[in-house]
Amino acid sequence: MATDSALFEFLLRQGDNSLVLGHRLSEWCGMGPALEEDIALANTALDLIGQTRLWLSYAGEVEGAGRSEDDLAYLRDAYDFRNALLLEVPNEDFGRTILREFFFDAFQLPWLHALIDSADERVAEIAAKSAKEASYHLERSAETVIALGDGTDESNAKMTAALTYLWPFAGELMVDDEVDHAIAEAGVAPLPSTIKPAWNATISGTFKEALLTRPDSDFAHAGGRNGFRHTEHLGHMLAQMQVLQRSHPGAAW
């Protein structure tokens, strides 16, 4: 069995990835470029926030300090978050929002499928539930990347700019550290690096259709999953996301 502290870290990573991406996507609510896209982004955000609740409530139980999912979401500071940096950078425009989600979905779907075999029963259950939703997310984000990449000159230029910006953030999802090794030894999850072949295949196949060129560099920013160094953007995002609980502690409705 993994030590409780490694398991707690692992669950925070799971929950914070869903929470931060879910919040970023929710920023589109009412602002989507078309009604269908607005609805799709809001629905995806809702799925992710729902998954966050499952991961963070389990994290709170494992920690054993009496913190609820809400305490973990609304009362931690940026340096206590364990999401990948990719998920916290600003949306910028629709193209970058979709490409970021696609990079995540291409990782998350095979990752959740692998977690279904977890030695930790609760992790396996949450993964099985979430994987069903993630398959719809990937289907749509991949289709939309293709539509925008293989769209007009302008949409292709915007996707190329988004790719240049996001690419150095994508790798962090699949770089292993000591927490990942402890979790893998306990049979809770495989090493994130084992997802790389599946991720590469999805990226290459979609990019080919989207007329996008995969950058050569494999440089990857790090510091989100271990909380060592988040970007300045996370603090701004949390300021908005947490303002109500910070201003009115314990507010409920």
Binding site: I39, A45, G50, R53, Y136
Partner: protein, 156 residues
Amino acid sequence: MVEAQTISEAQVWEWLEDVPDPEIPVISVVDLGVIRDVDVSDEGVIVTITPTYSGCPAMSIISLDVELALAKRGLEKVHFKTRLSPAWTTDWLSEKGRASLEDYGIAPPQPAGGPERCPHCQSKNVEKVSQFGSTACKAQWRCRDCLEPFDYFKCI
């Protein structure tokens, strides 16, 4: 108030048949397949619910509606359990529920991943507008014959 132990589980199931889904009121929460277990004991009634989508806001309303419906019958000690595994699947929609959905204008889920036909004119000439719709469980489709848009209950 009635004593829980004098009520049969079958009776509770029957009462729950009258509790409509808050978002699609033509089907009951039993037809939707989210009620997995009803347990009557000295402690009261335990209703086990499996959520449809992780973030579905209707789930807390469903618990509330079930609690109110049972309170109306005099059952005051109602407890809820959430069961994640096995995950909810559209296979759990009852036949009655599927037929009611189609009557209401929502195409029921199909294993093939798309609606079998337009719920308005029964044409099979249909196309997807978006994999996401008005609620987490629905996609938007359109009929190429009668030109009406319609909701499709997604297969998961």
